[in-house]
């Protein structure tokens, strides 16, 4: 149970700057997910919080206490690694008890805590097994158990599910979520998988090139991305981005003419002057296939991906840009067809030339 704060945390190897300066407040009991493409510095940031990586500058505080110089064991954290990192020469019980034994905790207390953690994770029948006799999911459960036993203030997870197969990943994701509801501890979770980020997080921290691009609830990031990077990173398939020019603007609306010809009105607050160049963004799920004769946007279906319940249609527009449209499974469009596309203006986004999102006129109901 703890509150964590990062202020101007920097990381540099000699002259090579990895993280130029991160500020972040994590509340007690919050589940925060660091997400970003590989090499964005999310693991480095986590390892700095853990004390495994030296902090070049700035302060890390847990419950107000500066912990920059404390060793990993004294910070009251526990960490679960992608590779499980179990001690292969110790059995499950030995693995879970190891930290406590070193801390000189009483044997009876160790036994009680280990059996409690084992009960939470369903590991009781496996306590005498060696890690090599366990499946991937069981090993990761042991690694989580090892963290629980230490009763840490903050749990750190470094891509814990990346080594598991798809089905197991979904199952373990639910287990971690349940664990959080049960323990109510502060948890920080690093992943490159945006589905994990969306499903697990109270708040998501999107990192890119060592910088924090945006911090917000999953729905906030989805409906109100701060910039082009977050817009493209959150959501699958990716948001479509088209070039456009502002045609007319009012206090709560802007009409944009796309390079392909169509014009669409988007409800943005402070809109730029007419004639300004903008990027127009719309998610595939907010587009629909329509009759080519009446729709404002038309193009050729280049690829049709049928997933059963839904269909992804890749439409090439007149100017060569491609739109991905997510529509229902009954869509009859075939490759080569001329199709029309309609967009729900309310769900569209405009980005200025610097790539920053123009604020919407109203907040989405879910984005609180």
């Amino acid at each position: 149970m703890a509150q964590l704060s990062l202020s101007a945390v920097r990381k540099a190897y000699d002259k090579h700057v990895v993280i130029p300066g991160a500020d972040l407040e994590i509340a007690d009991g919050e589940f925060v997910v660091f997400v970003g493409p590989s090499g964005c510095g999310k693991s480095t940031l986590l390892r700095m919080i853990a004390g495994l990586e030296e902090i070049t500058g700035g302060d890390v505080r847990i419950d107000g206490q500066r912990i920059n110089e404390l060793g990993p064991a004294d910070r009251g954290i526990a960490m679960v690694f992608q590779s499980y990192a179990l001690y292969p020469h110790k059995d499950v019980y030995g693995n879970m008890a190891f930290a406590l034994k070193h801390a000189g905790v009483d044997k009876a207390v160790i036994e009680e805590r280990v059996s409690k953690a084992a009960a939470i994770l369903g590991l009781e029948p496996l306590l005498k097994r060696r890690p090599k006799q366990l499946s991937g999911g069981q090993r990761q459960r042991v690694a989580i158990g090892r963290a629980i036993v230490r009763d840490p203030k903050i749990f750190l997870f470094d891509e814990p599910l990346s080594n598991l197969d798809a089905a197991l990943r979904v199952q373990m994701r639910v287990e971690i979520l349940r664990l959080h509801q049960r323990l109510k501890s502060t948890m920080i979770y690093v992943t490159h998988d945006q589905v994990e980020a969306m499903t697990l997080a109270d708040r998501i921290v999107v990192l890119h090139g060592g910088r924090i691009e945006q911090v917000g609830t999953p729905m906030e990031l989805y409906h109100h991305p701060a910039n082009l990077f977050v817009a493209g990173f959150i959501g699958s398939p990716k948001m479509n981005i088209l070039a456009g020019t502002v045609e007319a603007a009012s206090a709560d609306n802007a009409t944009v003419r796309l390079a392909a010809g169509a014009s669409i009105s988007v409800p943005v607050g402070a809109s730029p002057a007419p004639g300004a160049k903008v990027s127009f963004g719309v998610r595939p799920e907010h587009l629909a296939i329509a009759d080519a004769a009446s729709a404002s946007i038309t193009g050729t279906a280049q690829v049709v991906e049928r997933l059963g319940g839904e269909t992804l249609v890749h439409v090439e527009l007149a100017d060569g840009a491609t739109l991905v449209v997510k529509t229902d499974g009954e869509c009859l469009a075939r490759v080569g067809d001329i199709v029309g596309v309609t967009a729900q203006g309310a769900h569209c986004h405009l980005f200025d030339e610097a790539g920053l999102c123009l604020p919407k006129a109203e907040k989405h109901v879910l984005a609180v």
Binding site: G51, A73, A85, L86, K132
Partner: protein
């Protein structure tokens, strides 16, 4: 109707090719085993010859070197000589102490150096690695004169310590080389995990890293053991005194300028094999356990 017709001929075509592959495999495996068997005979031949002739009379050794010790040709005179002339119990103890202590130091210091090179980033890491390993290319015997002078000044001549120090130095480069390469393959997460569990860097080395590389330690020990046990050069130069002689040096007293007591030489050599075999059996059990534990990993 057409399905079985097409499948039968293709099945018939597949069958002989499988059979051919099987005979091919048997032929390859026979060839490999023939070569290995031949090598085993060549390797064991001198050992068996020493063993057989150590139980024969001198006349039989020269008259019929390949014959079995039997009836008139049998004689244990060599062993009696070894037991009565010269203090072989001391020689064996010396050899054993020197070998075991040197091996212990090689493995411990080599692993510690390798761990530091593989785990920590510090200025001069690469240079230090090359410096420690370059000893592989420079035979330690080139430095004999300097080593002798040093040992004289340290008053270590005619002590086992001198031998242990020299053999440790001799074994370290290869040990550091092999162990560093292996340490680099150890997962970083497991050490980080130990750090979070509150272990000091020393305890990480002793309680996490060493158990993980036990099979490699055994390999290094086996590689380093034989040259130390068999060495004649350094015992002759640094510790030729009666109390510090090793087995290889002790045997030399039976080899005179004009006559050689072959019975005693062969008997002593036979006895000298035993401790090495025991050590080897000990290490190779570690070795095999390590290999199989890796193989079962899911």
């Amino acid at each position: 109707m057409s399905a079985p017709e097409t499948s039968t001929p293709s099945a018939a075509r597949v069958q002989p090719s499988i059979a051919r592959a099987r005979t091919g495999r048997i032929a390859t495996s026979t060839a490999i085993h023939t070569v290995l068997f031949g090598y085993t005979i060549i390797a064991l031949f001198p050992v068996v010859l020493v063993l057989l002739n150590s139980f024969k009379t001198k006349r039989a050794i020269f008259g019929d070197p390949l014959g079995l010790p039997f009836g008139k040709t049998f004689s244990a005179i060599g062993y009696l000589d070894v037991l009565h002339k010269g203090d072989f119990a001391t020689y064996f103890t010396n050899s054993f102490v020197v070998t075991v202590v040197a091996l212990f130091l090689i493995v411990l210091l080599g692993a510690a150096a390798a761990h530091a090179l593989a785990e920590y980033r510090f200025p001069g890491n690469g240079f230090l690695g090359v410096y420690l390993i370059i000893g592989i290319m420079v035979p330690i015997r080139l430095g004999t004169v300097a080593i002798l002078q040093m040992m004289v000044q340290l008053h270590l001549v005619n002590t086992l310590t001198a031998l242990i120090l020299v053999y440790t130095a001799q074994g370290l480069p290869v040990a550091v080389f092999i162990l560093t390469e292996f340490m680099r393959t150890l997962s970083r997460d497991i050490k980080d995990s130990a750090r979070i569990d509150g272990l000091s860097e020393y305890r990480i080395f002793f309680e996490v890293v060493l158990p993980l590389i036990r099979p490699v330690l055994a390999t290094v020990a086996v590689f380093s053991m034989i040259p130390i046990w068999n060495d004649l050069w350094f015992p002759l130069i640094l510790a030729p005194g009666e109390g510090t002689r090793t087995v290889t040096l002790g045997v030399q007293q039976f080899i005179g300028q004009y006559t050689v007591n072959w019975n005693a030489v062969l008997a002593a050599l036979t006895l000298a094999i035993v401790p090495v075999l025991v050590l080897y059996a000990f290490f190779s059990r570690q070795l095999i356990r390590g290999i199989t534990s890796g193989a079962v990993k899911g």
